[in-house]
């Protein structure tokens, strides 16, 4: 039945901006502090306190807007969104309504069939977050709720997409792309669990071919990509079942329950607030000059997409390798730093994606804290390239480098791992192996060519891995005739 219906999804993402202080006061935005320890008259909404806009938050909003192909509004307005709730100390949220800071942007997402699709971004506007309510969980406190206003007034950028996505997969693809960009830009730490990157989804279905959008339901605050996919899929099915059963979708806000995998109604349209938006008279219009925009543009990092293209086109990496390396800005920086020391991009990529990532995972370390610097890693690669050590020995050296402190050369020197390239020394080992294995020699000479590997292995073993494998091979072939 699903085949007869088209899914339409629009997403609203709340990204918490990585400012040190709140959007309208000087309090710290640090997460997880003692409740209400990071508050002042402004974010507590004491009588007479006034908001002052944090210019850093504006800069981060401009960065995000530019990276998502938005137009930056030269004069935008802060408005009050009025409603009562204990986590909202002023009784209104300062947000942007009619004139948001960014508009008319887009992101391209990659579909499974290899095609690209452009998802429109309607707008991105700045606003303040609300506080947090802690509901009593002991018998004495069960009837009470506590208010923690540490989070109140922290800066958010709400990024609103067009209803351009047609499946849960497209929605996830868009979200991951947006997530990657805001983290890359450093405007948001991207932590879904702590609520730094929150998503609301507007979902509707309509029969294929119908122009008009179906009635939508809004799913609130889902805190993982997996849950978003589950929630959308459940909701689409629910709406189709409803219509097929002769019912009608009602416009409402629904909550996703991650335990049951279902969504349930939170409030209907009739309960929707009249927010009585009006321009906040305490704040002057936000004027952003073209010079400011250009200043911010000049500091934009290379974005993942551009990096991938460069890795493929200029460095000859495969699309897959480029994808993995570009996914994380710090990892990509590490790779770029390696390539600056060594022209062997392919070999750098292999080592980073193999041994480096494995060690990071094993030791639960981030790439910025990796004990082997790009310079030292490329030193190691240079010793393989100039035949000082074999690839296999290099793995041992790398392990020792990870323990810290020593360069590849120091380890090779100290451990005596230098590859043996002296023909005389290798020749005597070869002779000894041939003499010790007459049966295999006979078989080899009888036509069992594959046994060459056996002899090479024996010689390498005898040399404790230090003999140059190429020379061993050559000598064996010369002697076994």
């Amino acid at each position: 039945m699903t085949v007869r219906y088209e899914t339409v999804i629009g997403l609203e993402v709340h990204a918490q901006l990585t400012t040190n202080t709140k959007i309208f006061c000087g309090c710290s935005t640090e997460f997880g502090q003692t409740p209400n320890s990071q508050t002042c008259p402004v974010c507590l909404a004491l009588p007479g306190a006034l908001p002052v806009l944090n210019q850093k938050a504006v800069e981060l909003a401009i960065r995000t807007g530019l990276a998502t192909n938005c137009q930056i509004t030269p004069r935008s307005i802060f408005a009050r969104k009025n409603y009562f709730y204990p986590d909202l100390p002023k009784g209104y949220q300062i947000s942007q309504f009619e004139l948001p800071v960014c508009e008319h942007g887009w992101l391209d997402i990659d579909l499974e069939n290899g095609e690209r699709k452009r998802i429109g971004i309607t707008r991105a506007h700045m606003e303040e977050d609300a506080g947090k309510l802690v509901h009593g969980d002991t018998p004495e406190t069960s009837s009470s709720s506590l208010v923690d206003l540490n989070r109140a007034c922290t800066p958010l950028l709400e990024i609103v997409s067009e209803p351009d996505m047609r499946s849960a997969d497209e929605a996830i693809s868009y979200l991951k792309k947006l997530h990657q960009i805001v983290v890359y830009l450093g405007v948001c730490d991207g932590n879904l669990e702590e609520g730094s990157f929150r998503c609301d989804a507007n979902i509707s279905v309509r029969p294929y071919g119908q122009e008009e959008l179906g009635t939508r339901a809004e799913l609130k605050n889902i805190n993982s990509f997996r849950f978003i996919k589950q929630a959308i899929e459940y909701e689409v099915e629910r709406q189709i079942d409803l219509i097929e059963g002769g019912g009608k979708v009602v416009q409402e806000t629904r909550l996703f329950d991650s335990n049951t995998g279902m969504t349930r109604s939170m409030r209907g349209k009739e309960d929707a607030h009249d927010y009585r938006y009006f321009p906040d008279p305490d704040l002057v219009p936000l004027v952003i000059s073209q010079e400011w925009i250009e200043e911010v543009r000049a500091t934009l990092p290379e974005l993942p997409e551009a990096k991938r293209t460069r890795f493929v086109e200029e460095m000859g990496l495969t699309a897959y390798d480029a994808e993995v390396l570009a996914a994380d800005r710090k990892l990509a920086d590490y790779f770029d730093a390696c390539v600056a020391f060594s022209k062997e991009a392919k070999s750098c990529a292999n080592w980073i994606m193999g041994d480096v990532l494995r060690k990071l995972k094993e030791t639960d370390t981030t790439i910025t804290d990796a004990p082997v610097s790009p310079e030292r890693l490329t030193d190691l690669l240079a010793r393989i390239a100039d035949n000082t050590i074999s690839g296999k020995i290099a793995k041992t050296v790398f392990e020792k480098m990870w323990q810290g402190g020593q360069t590849a050369d120091q380890i090779i020197e100290k451990e005596g791992l230098k590859q043996v390239t002296d023909t005389g020394a290798i020749e005597s080992l070869v002779d000894a192996v041939i003499a010790a294995n007459p049966d295999q020699v006979a078989e080899y000479l009888g036509g069992k060519d594959k046994l060459i590997g056996f002899f090479v292995g024996k010689v390498m073993q005898a040399s404790q891995g230090k003999a140059n494998p190429g020379m061993v091979n050559q000598l064996l072939k010369k002697k076994l005739v």
Partner: protein, 487 residues
């Protein structure tokens, strides 16, 4: 002459030559308040202990030669200013026991000069009113006639200065709340240009209209106090970074070439004959002083009151949402559910006029009405502002009445809010335009009630306005009269 009859400037001289100490002055005022306040009810809180401590500190500063213009001068402030460690009620039950943890910028600016904060003054609740009858702490009485209102909302500020309970006071003016009570009490009240004085720490009524202003015995004191509080404040985004001139230095008495406009829309039906005559006499005085008097027009004046009661109430409905009983202020502890806590706390905490304005403003912002009311009012506001800008191409200052009538009797208008609202018809346009204006004594009615004269100045040109006011004051004796009240 007793201590409490001296102006700020006179006190300054006597403190500086050690003829008086700040403690003596403060004690004199505290005694005066104790004797007079039961009749006037102009103070909500009297700062007996802190005032003496501040006076001692001021005396030490004077002894050490560290004297600022306001050092040791006893100043009372409207109970709308946050004052650290003191109760700040806004004359509302909802903040009856609220003690602020911080100082408003205007307060810290006078404190840094070691002025003595002698008390917190009565007012209309949340500055909503024109008679000071809307106070949870009771009405203030006019020292010129105890059966009459002192005007509002800064009624306590004006009454206290008229009755010599403080050397000077700070009030706030959203639609005339400094000027109208100043006129009714025969003192000088000044509303600076919007953005001239920081609003930080002033409990908000209507954010786009509120301004802090001095209430004083004479024009020189007005200049002195304005000097202390004026200037940019990074804590108020709407305060303006423009230089503050030396206001006292501008009080030259020179009116040569001064063009003074009489807006014809301000002299219409409903204007009391005594007031009309007093203002006409003032215009004649100005002509005698060498100023040119020109009739001008502010064509959108008739729409100002309606425009104000949409914009001010819309902003107020949102500004007062924070009084929800959650973090501070009155909370109904018997409420079962959250919604009941909100409704019952606010029902018990706010007075009738405040509730009326919250409802009006909520309505004006509601979906479906927003364009017809709020947006329309904003457009009218732009036209009113433009009226003033146009007229200031032709004249330097405008001369008008402050209020259509002298002070009315207590209870006279409490049942007729519309009549009450119309008493601000000459002051409201100035707040909508955002420019500066002041009220100064210019006569008395047949019944002996004070009449005020309003001068309206160009935006950020308080200096010229003060000079114009000062010249009039030098030429007349009105400001020297004091009420026959517990002399």
């Amino acid at each position: 002459m007793t201590i409490f009859d001296l102006t700020l400037a006179e006190l300054r001289a006597k403190l500086d030559n050690l003829e008086l100490s700040a403690v003596e002055v403060t004690n004199a005022y505290l005694d005066r308040i104790a004797t007079t306040n039961p009749d006037l009810n102009s103070f909500i809180t009297v700062c007996d202990e802190t005032a003496i401590a501040e006076a001692q500190a001021a005396d030490q500063a004077i002894a050490a030669g560290e004297v600022a213009p306001l050092t040791g001068l006893p100043i009372a402030v409207k109970d709308i200013f946050n004052t650290a460690g003191l109760r700040t009620t806004c004359a509302s039950r909802i903040l009856e026991n609220y003690v602020s943890p911080y100082d408003a910028t205007a307060i810290s600016r006078i404190k840094v000069q070691k002025a003595v904060i002698i008390g917190k003054l009565n007012m209309d609740e949340f500055a909503m009113g024109s008679s000071n009858e809307n106070s949870a702490f009771g009405a203030v009485r006019n020292p010129w006639d105890l059966e009459h209102v002192p005007g509002g909302s800064s009624g306590g500020s004006a009454a206290s200065i008229a009755a010599h309970q403080a050397a000077a006071a700070l009030g706030t003016d959203t639609g005339g709340s400094v000027r109208q009570p100043a006129a009714h009490c025969s003192v000088v009240g000044l509303k600076p240009t919007y953005g001239r004085v920081s609003r930080y720490g002033v409990v908000a009524y209507a954010s786009s209209l509120d301004q802090v202003g001095p209430v004083t015995r004479d024009v020189r004191d007005s200049a002195l106090l304005l000097q202390a509080i004026a200037g940019y404040d990074s804590a108020d985004s709407t305060s303006v970074e423009t230089p503050v001139p030396d206001y006292q230095a501008n009080l030259t008495g020179d009116l040569k070439g001064m063009r003074i406009g009489l807006p014809k829309e301000y002299f219409i039906e409903g204007l009391d004959e005594d007031v009309r005559k007093a203002v006409a006499d003032a215009a004649a005085t100005y002509r005698d002083l060498g100023a040119e008097i020109i009739e001008v027009s502010l064509p959108h004046t008739a729409y100002a009151v309606a425009c104000y009661y949409l914009i001010a109430t819309a902003e107020a409905s949102s500004n007062l949402a924070r009084y929800d009983g959650v973090r501070y202020g009155l909370r109904d502890e018997n409420a079962e559910k959250l919604i009941d806590m909100y409704m019952q706390s606010r029902a018990a905490g706010f007075g009738t006029e405040v509730k009326r304005r919250i409802m009006l403003g909520t309505y004006a912002l509601s979906s479906g009405y927003y364009d017809a009311y709020y947006i329309k009012a904003q457009k009218v506001r732009t036209l009113i502002r433009q009226d003033f800008l146009d007229v200031f191409e032709k004249v330097d200052t405008l001369l008008t009445p402050v209020a259509p009538t002298p002070a009315f009797a207590l209870g006279e208008k409490t049942d007729d809010p519309l009549q009450m609202y119309l008493s601000d018809i000459y002051t409201i346009p100035v707040n909508l335009a955002g420019t500066c204006a002041m009220s100064l004594p210019c006569g008395f009615s047949e019944k002996g009630l004070p009449i005020g004269l309003q001068l309206i100045g160009k935006p950020f040109d308080e200096a010229t306005m003060l000079r114009t006011a000062h010249a009039f004051e030098q030429a007349t004796e009105w400001h020297k009269r004091t009420p026959n009240f517990k002399v």
